[in-house]
C-alpha cells in the first residue's frame, strides 16, 4: 500500500509539472511561438474539462447502480457537438464578436448590457457549481481514503480539507497569473489539455487491464455483462430523457464549459474538429465504464463503494502502479475542473459583482481613482476563488459527503440548465427581453433550489422533515418532491420538468408582454443575426473623451505595458507616432472591447462612458446626438447663408467704395476741367482789359475789337456757367419738370428753328411729318433743349460738303425713338464712349463749346425717363433719343 505521503508528493509533483507546462505555454504564447497551442486538438482536449472526477470515478458507480443510464451524461453533449452547425457555431461567433468573457457576460450583453441580469446569472452559477466543486473534493477525498488503511472517515475529512486548500492555491496561481484582455489563458488551456490526455490514458489503462487482464477478453466481458446485476436493459424513460437534456444544457451553460468552449476559443474553425473529436473523447471515456462496473461488482466484496472501482479494482489485484495511474487520472479530472470552474466563476464575480460596486463607490472620482484597478480585479478574483472553494467545502460537509457522486452532479446540472431558455431564446429569438429572461431564470432557479438543492442536504438538513412530508405550512401541493400533488416521480425528473418548463413558459410569456429597451433590441438583432453583420455598431460618439484619462484608466486595468502598447498601436494607425491617439469612435470601441475582457462588457461600457461623458450610449442618446447634429447642420447652414450674405454685402460695399473713389476722381477731374475752362476766357478778358486800361494810344477801332473780345469771352463764361448750373441741377435731381402735353412735331419744329437760327450755311433737314404726329406728355422745353443741342451739334460738326440732317421717328413698342442722322463722318470710334461725358470735346475747339451739351442731354433724358445713345451702325453722326411712350399714351 502506498503511503499517504507518497500520494501527496505524487500529487504535488504532478501539479508542479502542470504548472511548468502552463508557464512554458504562456511564455511561448507571449513570444508568439504558440501555433500548436492554437490547434483544434488542444481545443478539443480542453473541452474535456467536462469530464470531471464525477466522470472518472462516478460513471462507474453510476453504471453499477443504474446500468446504462450513465451514458446520458455524454449523449447530451454529443448531440450538442454534432449539431454544432446549428447552435455552437453561432454561440462561438457571438462570443468572439462581442468579446464575451463568461456566460453571465453573454446574457448581460444580449439583454441590453444589463448588469442586474449578469449578477443574477453569476449568483445562479456560483450556487449551482458549488455542489459540483464539493463533488470534486469528495472524489479526491474518496480516492485518498482507498489508499489508506487507517480510519477512512478521518482521512476523507482531512483529505477534503487539504484538497480544498490545495486546489484553491492551485487555481489562484493558475487562473489569476495575469489579466488578459480576452480572458484567454493559454497556460491553463494547455494544462487542461494535458490533464485530458492523462485522465483518458488512465481510464483506458484501467479498462484494458479489466477487460483483457481480469475478464479475459472482449467476448468474455460481454458475456459477463449479461449475467451481472446490471445484465438487462433497464432504463427509466423519464430519467433518460431528462438527464440527456440536462447534460446537453450543461455542456453549453456550465461556466467552465463556456470558458473553454467560447471564451478560450481561438478560431471558430476548431469547432469543426471538436464536433467529432470531442464526442469521440467522450465515447472513449465511457467505453470501459460498464466492463469496469461489471467486473467490480463481480470481484469486489459486497458493500464496497462502486464509485471507487476504478481505483480499488487494480489495487485489490495488487497492481499498485495502475492504481497510482488511476489516482492521478482522477486527480487530474478533479483539478482541471476546479481550476477552470473557479477561474470562470471568479471572472464572473469580479466583472459583474465586485467591479461595478467598486466603481460605483468611486464614481465621483472618475478616472482619477487612486490605486490600481488591475490590482483590485486580481485581488477580487483571488478572493472569489477562495470563497468558491470554501463554499464547496461547506457543501461537502453539510451534505454529509455520503451521497453518490452522480446525484450531486445532477443537482448541479439541473441548476445550471436554468440558463438554457434565456440563452437559446436570446440566440434565436429577437423578441426575448431582459424582463422575460430575468423572470424565467428567477422562477426556474427558485424551483430548482426548492425541489432539488435544499432537499439534497438530507431529510433534516436545511429543510425540516415536516416540510418535506407535508409541504410548507401544511400546504400539500407544495411538497418539494411532489409539486402540484404529483407524487411518485423521480426527484430529478420532477425538478427538471417543473423548473425548466415553468422557466421557459414564464420567459416566453414575460418576453411577449414586455417591451425591450433600445440597447436590448440592438443587441438582440446583433445576436440573432450574428452571421449577417460582423461587428456591432456600439459606437461612442465622444470626441470629448480625454485620451490621457483613457490612458490612465486603461493602464490600471490592462497593466501599463499592455495599455501603452495598445495606445501606441492605435496612434501609429492614426498616423500620430509618439503621441496619444485621438479618441475616435472606432478607437473607443476597440478600447471598450479590450477593457471588457478584464472587467466585463457592462463595466467597460460604464467606465469608458464615465470618461467620455455620456454614461451609456443608448439609442435615445444616439437619437439625441442625431438631433443635435441636425440642429448643428441647420445652424451651420444658417451661418453659411449669413456668410454668403456678408460676402454679398462686402462685394456691394467694395463696389460702392469703387464708385465713390471713381466719383471722387471724377469730381477732381471735373473741378480741374472747370477751372481750366474758366481760366481760358478769364485770361483773355484780363489780358484785353489790361491792354485797354494801360495802353493810352488805342484807336477806337482797336478798343471796339478788344471790348468785343472781352464781351465774347464773358458770354462764353456765362454760357459755361449756365451749363454747369444746369448740369448740377439736373444731376442733383433737384430739377423741377414742367410736364405738359404737346406734339412731337411742334417740339421738333421749335428745335430746328432755334438751332439753325443764325447759322450761315444752311443745313438741309429731312423729316417725315406723318411719323412725327405723336402726342407727348413731358417737359417740352427740356425736350426741345435736347433736340436743339443735337441739331446744333449736327450743324456744327457735320463735315460734309452739303450737310444734311435726317430726323427719323420710330416706334419701338412702348417706347419712341427719335434719330438724328447726318451725312458727315460722324464721331470717331474711340470717342463714341466719351461723347456723353462732361467736357468731352471730340474735335478740338472748333465750335468753342464747353463740352457739356451731350452730358446735359443725357441727364435731361434720364429725368424724363428716356435715354440717348450713339448709333454705331450708321456711317455719319447718329444719335438716338428714346422717349417713353407711356407718357405719350397718358397724353392722349
Amino acid at each position: 500500500m502506498a503511503s499517504l505521503n507518497l500520494l501527496v508528493s505524487v500529487c504535488l509533483g504532478y501539479v508542479a509539472l502542470l504548472f511548468l507546462v502552463a508557464a512554458l505555454a504562456e511564455r511561448a504564447a507571449a513570444m508568439g511561438r504558440a501555433q500548436w497551442l492554437r490547434s483544434p486538438l488542444v481545443y478539443t482536449l480542453s473541452l474535456s474539462v467536462y469530464c470531471t472526477g464525477w466522470t472518472f470515478y462516478g460513471a462507474v458507480g453510476y453504471a453499477a447502480r443504474s446500468g446504462l443510464e450513465f451514458v446520458t451524461i455524454y449523449i447530451g453533449p454529443t448531440l450538442v457537438m454534432i449539431g454544432w452547425w446549428w447552435g455552437l457555431r453561432k454561440l462561438v461567433r457571438i462570443g468572439r464578436s462581442q468579446r464575451v468573457t463568461s456566460i453571465a457576460d453573454l446574457l448581460s450583453s444580449r439583454y441590453g448590457k444589463s448588469n442586474g441580469l449578469a449578477i443574477g446569472v453569476t449568483i445562479l452559477c456560483v450556487i449551482s457549481v458549488t455542489p459540483y466543486i464539493a463533488l470534486q473534493l469528495q472524489s479526491i477525498a474518496l480516492s485518498l481514503s482507498v489508499f489508506t488503511e487507517e480510519d477512512a472517515t478521518r482521512t476523507m475529512e482531512t483529505g477534503a480539507f487539504w484538497a480544498a486548500i490545495g486546489l484553491g492555491i492551485f487555481a489562484i496561481l493558475f487562473g489569476t497569473r495575469n489579466l488578459d484582455a480576452n480572458e484567454r489563458h493559454h497556460g491553463v488551456v494547455i494544462a487542461v489539455a494535458l490533464e485530458a490526455v492523462v485522465k483518458l490514458f488512465a481510464l483506458i489503462a484501467v479498462g484494458v487491464f479489466v477487460v483483457w487482464g481480469l475478464a479475459g477478453g472482449m467476448g468474455e466481458t460481454l458475456a459477463r455483462i449479461d449475467v451481472s446485476e446490471i445484465g438487462q436493459w433497464e432504463v427509466h424513460g423519464g430519467r433518460w430523457t431528462a438527464i440527456t437534456l440536462l447534460a446537453a444544457a450543461a455542456v453549453i451553460c456550465l461556466p467552465r464549459m463556456f470558458q473553454v468552449m467560447v471564451v478560450e476559443n481561438e478560431d471558430e474553425r476548431h469547432l469543426r474538429v471538436a464536433a467529432w473529436a470531442f464526442p469521440l473523447y467522450l465515447l472513449l471515456m465511457s467505453l470501459f465504464v460498464i466492463p469496469i462496473a461489471v467486473v467490480g461488482l463481480d470481484l469486489m466484496p459486497q458493500g464496497s463503494n462502486p464509485d471507487l472501482f476504478v481505483l480499488s479494482l487494480p489495487l485489490s489485484q495488487g497492481n499498485e502502479g495502475l492504481a497510482m495511474l488511476a489516482f492521478i487520472g482522477g486527480f487530474s479530472s478533479a483539478t482541471s475542473m476546479v481550476i477552470v470552474a473557479a477561474m470562470a466563476l471568479s471572472i464572473m464575480i469580479s466583472n459583474h459583482v465586485v467591479m461595478p460596486i467598486y466603481l460605483s463607490t468611486r464614481s465621483g472620482q472618475g478616472a482619477s481613482i487612486s490605486g490600481d484597478v488591475r490590482h483590485v480585479v486580481l485581488l477580487s478574483r483571488r478572493i472569489a476563488i477562495a470563497a468558491i472553494l470554501v463554499l464547496g467545502y461547506l457543501y461537502y460537509r453539510l451534505s454529509g459527503g455520503g451521497a453518490a457522486l452522480a446525484a450531486i452532479g445532477l443537482i448541479a446540472f439541473a441548476g445550471i440548465a436554468q440558463i438554457l431558455p434565456a440563452l437559446v431564446g436570446g440566440l434565436f429569438w429577437r423578441g426575448a427581453t431582459r424582463a422575460g429572461a430575468l423572470a424565467g431564470l428567477s422562477l426556474g432557479f427558485a424551483i430548482w433550489v426548492y425541489t432539488l438543492l435544499l432537499p439534497g442536504f438530507g431529510a433534516n438538513g436545511l429543510l425540516p422533515a415536516s416540510v418535506m412530508e407535508q409541504g410548507p405550512w401544511g400546504i400539500d401541493w407544495l411538497r418539494p418532491y411532489a409539486l402540484f400533488g404529483i407524487t411518485g416521480m423521480d426527484t430529478i425528473v420532477h425538478s427538471v420538468l417543473w423548473s425548466l418548463s415553468l422557466n421557459t413558459a414564464v420567459f416566453f410569456a414575460v418576453s411577449m408582454m414586455t417591451f425591450p429597451g433600445p440597447v436590448e433590441r440592438l443587441q438582440g438583432a446583433q445576436f440573432v443575426n450574428v452571421f449577417d453583420h460582423s461587428f456591432g455598431p456600439r459606437g461612442w460618439s465622444g470626441s470629448v473623451a480625454q485620451s490621457e484619462d483613457l490612458m490612465i484608466m486603461s493602464q490600471r486595468i490592462l497593466g501599463p505595458a499592455e495599455a501603452q502598447d495598445l495606445f501606441q498601436r492605435e496612434a501609429e494607425r492614426q498616423g500620430a507616432r509618439g503621441h496619444l491617439p485621438e479618441p475616435t469612435p472606432a478607437f473607443l470601441e476597440t478600447l471598450e472591447r479590450e477593457l471588457s475582457g478584464s472587467v466585463g462588457t457592462a463595466t467597460a461600457h460604464a467606465m469608458v462612458g464615465q470618461i467620455v461623458g455620456g454614461s451609456a450610449v443608448s439609442v435615445e442618446d444616439l437619437l439625441a446626438v442625431a438631433d443635435e447634429s441636425a440642429q448643428m447642420l441647420e445652424y451651420s447652414s444658417r451661418l453659411e447663408e449669413k456668410s454668403a450674405e456678408l460676402t454679398r454685402t462686402a462685394a456691394q460695399l467694395r463696389e460702392a467704395n469703387e464708385k465713390l473713389t471713381q466719383l471722387s476722381v471724377q469730381k477732381d477731374a471735373f473741378l480741374s476741367q472747370v477751372s481750366h475752362e474758366l481760366r481760358t476766357p478769364m485770361t483773355s478778358i484780363r489780358a484785353f482789359s489790361e491792354i485797354m486800361r494801360d495802353e493810352d494810344g488805342l484807336s477806337a477801332e482797336e478798343k471796339a475789337r478788344y471790348a468785343g473780345v472781352i464781351h465774347d469771352e464773358a458770354l462764353r463764361l456765362t454760357r459755361l456757367l449756365d451749363d454747369l448750373l444746369d448740369l448740377s441741377v439736373l444731376e442733383s435731381g433737384q430739377v423741377s419738370l414742367d410736364m405738359r402735353s404737346g406734339q412731337l412735331t411742334d417740339v421738333l419744329d421749335q428745335a430746328v428753328a432755334a438751332a439753325l437760327a443764325g447759322t450761315t450755311e444752311g443745313m438741309a433737314v429731312h423729316r417725315r411729318g406723318v411719323d412725327e404726329a405723336v402726342a407727348l406728355y413731358t417737359d417740352l422745353d427740356r425736350l426741345a433743349q435736347v433736340f436743339i443741342n443735337l441739331i446744333a451739334n449736327a450743324s456744327k460738326y457735320c463735315d460734309a460738303a452739303r450737310p444734311e440732317l435726317t430726323i427719323r421717328v420710330r416706334n419701338l413698342g412702348d417706347r419712341l425713338a427719335v434719330d438724328f442722322l447726318d451725312n458727315g463722318s460722324g464721331v470717331p470710334v474711340h470717342a463714341r464712349a466719351l461723347v456723353f461725358e462732361k467736357f468731352a470735346r471730340v474735335s478740338g475747339d472748333k465750335a468753342g463749346g464747353a463740352g457739356l451739351g451731350l452730358a446735359i442731354c443725357r441727364e435731361i433724358l434720364e429725368r424724363l425717363g428716356g435715354d440717348i445713345h450713339y448709333l454705331n451702325d450708321h456711317s455719319g453722326g447718329a444719335f438716338r433719343v428714346i422717349l417713353p411712350k407711356a407718357h405719350a399714351m397718358a397724353a392722349q
Binding site: L68, T78, I82, W85, A223, V235, W276, P279, F535
Partner: protein, 98 residues
C-alpha cells in the same frame, strides 16, 4: 433556413453545399431519435411472458454503435465543410474583423 439570397437557382455546387448544411442541422435530431429508440425496448418491468428483456451487451453495442455512427457522420461533415472557407452566405470563414 433556406437560402437568403434572392436567386432562385443556385450553382450546382452551392446547392449541394446547402443540402449538406441541412443534413448537418438534422444530425442532432437523427441522434436524438436513434438514442430514444432503446426507450421502446422491453425492460424487466414491461417485458411480457413471451418477450425477453434486452440483454445489456446488446444495449451497450447498440448505444456505442450509434454513438460511433454519429461521430463518423460529424467527421464526414467536418471534412466536407473544410474547404468552404469564406464562401457561402453563412460560411464558416466569414472573417469577423480581426
Amino acid at each position: 433556413m433556406s437560402a437568403r439570397r434572392p436567386s432562385v437557382f443556385l450553382e450546382r455546387e452551392t446547392y449541394r453545399r446547402r443540402r449538406i448544411m441541412d443534413a448537418a442541422r438534422l444530425l442532432p435530431i437523427l441522434g436524438l431519435a436513434l438514442f430514444a429508440i432503446p426507450l421502446l425496448w422491453p425492460t424487466p418491468d414491461t417485458a411480457g411472458p413471451e418477450t425477453d428483456p434486452v440483454p445489456m451487451s446488446t444495449a451497450v453495442l447498440y448505444i456505442f454503435g450509434v454513438w460511433a455512427f454519429l461521430i463518423g457522420l460529424a467527421f464526414l461533415f467536418g471534412l466536407k465543410s473544410r474547404g468552404w472557407g469564406p464562401m457561402g452566405s453563412e460560411g464558416l470563414g466569414d472573417e469577423d474583423a480581426r
